[in-house]
């Protein structure tokens, strides 16, 4: 079991580090010495509260503020300062004081690797608050995904059929895969594939209707990936969720996660709290390990199945 290095339950993390952190905080309040030698780097800095758009809208109103101005403590000794206010979401505590990380096992926003979800609905059954809902969606089978390891490609049972679906990698697939990080981009994950319905299949070409644009087009099957309609995606009513994590525990495919993200979960209406697939999507990129493990498992299963079938066939022959 791999822990976050700061969360490993050893003497260093349970005793020494906490005591050093509090000692630092205490020493920081000493005049002159504290701010100079025990500063966390953001003391007395000016924080920009508005982004450029907001600033232009408000007509250049004063938008910056010194950290925690209401905590100025002394007329005589100005250096007794003690910033405590972190101006979230403009500033994040983890960025300012990296030792105050969000623990790995914190049950935060729900994240699903929809690519490895098999729609077994174990999570829906496990949810005590009935906040999980499943619907269908067109998706690429994981074992056909180009980022799967080579020996596993082509081991899915999905094929190109008339009335079925196919998918095409997005132009910026590589970019999304390599650069997108939910850590820094607090927004829904972008689509990695374009999906289309196969209207007619003839040899190596097919006429398809793209789901996004609705345009009909004749495409070469080379470079296309078969997609499935019967795989479903889910919606989560976050307003009912109590973050117990039972859904995560019940998932037999390691597709369901409670991420340790604590933001992106608010809304102005109840409807905003309905998290659809895009808001819960966790890209396989950021979940390589789990996805790889799951893929290997499924590929092994498929491979042994085929081996058994081949053996049986040879025996019969």
């Amino acid at each position: 079991m791999a822990y976050h290095p700061r969360a490993t339950p050893n003497f260093r993390n349970l005793v020494v580090r906490p005591m050093w952190i509090t000692l630092r905080a205490g020493l920081r309040t000493i005049p002159y010495i504290g701010p100079r030698f025990f500063s966390s780097g953001y003391h007395g800095k000016i924080a920009e509260m508005f982004d450029d758009e907001t600033k232009s809208r408000t007509g250049g109103k004063e938008s910056s503020q010194i950290y925690a101005a209401d905590r100025e403590t002394s007329h005589f000794v100005k250096s007794i300062s003690r910033p405590v206010t972190v101006m979230y979401p403009y500033e994040r505590l983890e960025d300012l004081e990296p030792w105050l990380f969000v623990p790995n096992n914190y049950n935060g926003r729900i994240g699903v690797v929809w690519e490895t979800c098999t729609a077994c609905k174990a999570c829906v059954r496990a949810c005590p608050n009935d906040c999980l809902h499943m619907e269908s969606e067109v998706r690429v089978n994981v074992l056909d995904m180009p980022d799967a390891s080579e020996e596993n490609v082509g081991l899915s049972s999905v094929e190109f059929v008339e009335g079925g679906y196919l998918a095409r990698k997005n132009d910026d697939f590589e970019e999304i895969e390599n650069s997108f990080s939910l850590e820094t981009a607090h927004e829904s994950a972008p689509q990695q594939y374009d999906f289309a319905e196969i209207i007619d299949l003839s040899g190596n070409t097919a006429s398809v209707r793209w789901s996004d644009s609705g345009k009909t087009e004749s495409v070469d099957l080379e470079g296309m990936i078969p997609a499935e309609q019967d795989i479903v995606s889910g919606r989560i009513d976050l307003g009912r969720c109590m973050f117990c994590g039972l859904c995560m525990e019940s998932c037999p495919f390691n597709s369901f996660f409670m991420t340790n993200e604590y933001d992106g979960m608010s809304g102005l209406t109840r409807d905003d709290l309905w998290m659809d697939a895009s808001r819960t999507r966790v890209l396989p990129v950021v979940h390589k390990e789990a996805v790889d493990r799951e893929l290997a498992k499924r590929a092994d299963k498929e491979r042994s199945k085929r081996e058994r079938a081949a053996k049986k066939a040879s025996k019969e022959a």
Partner: protein, 516 residues
């Protein structure tokens, strides 16, 4: 003996330097009291035909006065920890803490100045207004920052940043004394009323055997260590009484936890204390302290001889006085206030005071057992230093050694506060496991080490320099090894944003199909 108080000349001459300096003191309170009572009885009862009674009467009144003096000193000394708890923990936890400061008398809520004196007739409010104006302008909570001035600078500290918080103790006392006594209807009334008295009286009795100085103690039997530990161990019974008799689920759980925890930690504590007694060859607290002082038998502080014992004593004592991280019995987050939930008013105040008194006792005992009692660090070395040695000798003679003991105890309490601010509460089963499976064997090992040190190494004179140096270096090395213990594999994965660790399914048989 009493004359020593007045013969100041002895401070600069006539006293041999370095010869058991800390054990003796001009601040001979016991001798002075004994002299006063003796003289008084001589001049009063000694003149009458009941003169035979004067011996026990003077002795009795001297002891009585001594007990009163120790009580007063203790009550004043415990103000230190309470104040430190307020101010220090606030700083360690990155805030200043809410306190009743003296300036709250003239700075209003939200920087609003209610000029009530203007309503007084005949202009008698004018001087009040002048005084208020002076205080408001010079020691108010105004700020040069207009945004701050809108609401008032509540964190204003000014010149007397140290003073706010001191007055809080008296405000608290007033509040406790005024409050009504409200026992729960279904409580076991007699036990409910008796429990706080058991706790408070036994806590105060502990201080009878704790010396503040070579001649500043209430009682000094030969086996004072045994007496003291026995009385120290009675309070948990009162805690259990309180938890049981309050007839409340929180107090009951708190009392049970307290019973389990204090039993588990009493045993390693007693074994550690036994190892101290073995090392110092005595069961008398004063002799234990004097054993470590320069010019006496050992002349090395015990912390350098048994660092493991010091750590054990500190940990078990923190558990015994129920402070964080071992404050399961009064876990506020889950048990309201633990076993003292149902107590209010002065009874709660007394329990609160006794908690701090027990903490102070723990700190004093740590200082006496491990930090050389009332000796200043490296006292004899400082006195023997060239050129400045004479100055140090003068300082050590003129300042009562009791002060060093108190300062040491307060420093140890500062460590308690530091621990409280840093560490989180430990789960009950982990507390018990830690106590039984780690502290108990370690204390037995420490006992064995002490026996070996006393019988195999100690030769009656001062310890050879090699022994404490070696032990301290080994202890520091062990500590460093513990600190450097880090999960290198986890470090490699630290950029991973989400936890993807395998989850052990709660359902039976879920582990069977688990891979890797």
């Amino acid at each position: 003996m009493f004359l020593q108080l007045w013969e100041v000349s002895i401070l600069v001459s006539g006293r041999r330097i370095g010869e058991n300096m800390a054990a003796e003191d001009w601040f001979d309170v016991r001798g002075a009291i004994a002299w006063v009572t003796e003289q008084t009885m001589d001049k009063t009862i000694g003149m009458t035909r009941f003169w035979e009674q004067k011996y026990w009467l003077s002795e009795f009144s001297a002891e009585f006065a001594m007990a009163g003096i120790i009580f007063v000193i203790t009550m004043l000394a415990v103000l230190g920890p309470v104040w430190m708890e307020r101010k220090l923990i606030a700083r360690l936890m990155d805030h200043r803490g809410s306190t009743i400061a003296i300036r709250s008398l003239w700075t209003g809520e939200g920087n609003i100045r209610v000029e009530w004196w203007k309503d007084l007739p005949f202009g008698i409010g004018v001087p009040i207004g002048l005084v208020n104006g002076f205080l408001w302008n010079n020691f108010g909570n105004d700020s040069s920052n207009p945004k701050v001035a809108q609401v008032g600078n509540r964190s204003y500290a000014g010149w007397w940043w140290a003073l706010p918080g001191m007055i809080n103790n008296f405000a608290d006392f007033t509040k406790f004394a005024i409050k009504e006594h409200m026992p729960p209807r279904d409580a076991d009334q007699v036990t409910y009323e008796v429990a706080p008295f058991i706790i408070v009286t036994t806590t105060l009795l502990v201080f009878a055997f704790i010396p503040y100085g070579p001649s500043l103690y209430a009682a000094n039997p030969d086996l004072s260590l045994v007496y003291m530990m026995a009385i120290f161990g009675i309070a948990p019974l009162g805690v259990f009484f309180a938890g049981w008799s309050s007839n409340n689920k929180y107090t009951l759980i708190g009392g049970m936890r307290s019973a389990a925890q204090l039993t588990a930690y009493e045993i390693p504590l007693l074994i550690t204390v036994l190892s101290i007694a073995v090392l110092c060859g005595t069961l008398n607290i004063i002799e234990i302290a004097e054993f470590q002082m320069s010019g006496s038998q050992g002349s090395v502080w015990n912390i350098f001889l048994m660092p493991l014992g010091a750590a054990l004593f500190l940990i078990t004592m923190i558990a015994e006085v129920e402070r964080t991280p071992f404050d399961m019995p009064e876990a506020e987050a889950e048990l309201v206030e633990g076993w003292w939930t149902e107590y209010g008013g002065m009874r709660w105040g007394l329990l609160f005071a006794s908690e701090y008194l027990r903490s102070l006792a723990a700190c004093l005992l740590f200082s006496l057992f491990f930090l050389g009692g009332w000796e200043f660090p490296f006292e004899d070395a400082l006195i023997a230093a060239p050129f400045v040695g004479g100055i140090f000798a003068f300082i050590f003679q003129i300042i009562p050694h009791s002060l060093w003991l108190l300062i040491k105890a307060w420093i140890v309490f500062a460590f308690f506060i530091w621990v409280r601010a840093s560490l989180h509460r430990v789960r009950t089963d982990q507390i018990l496991e830690f106590g039984w499976r780690y502290l108990l064997p370690l204390s037995v090992i420490q006992l064995g080490l002490s026996i070996w040190l006393r019988l195999g190494v100690y030769d009656g004179g001062p310890w050879p320099v090699v022994i404490p140096t070696l032990i301290t270096v080994v202890a520091i090395l062990l500590f460093v090894v513990l600190v450097l213990d880090e999960d290198k594999d986890a470090l490699a994965e630290q950029r991973r944003p989400y936890h993807v660790s395998e989850i052990n399914k709660a359902s039976p048989g879920a582990r069977i199909n688990r891979e890797d």
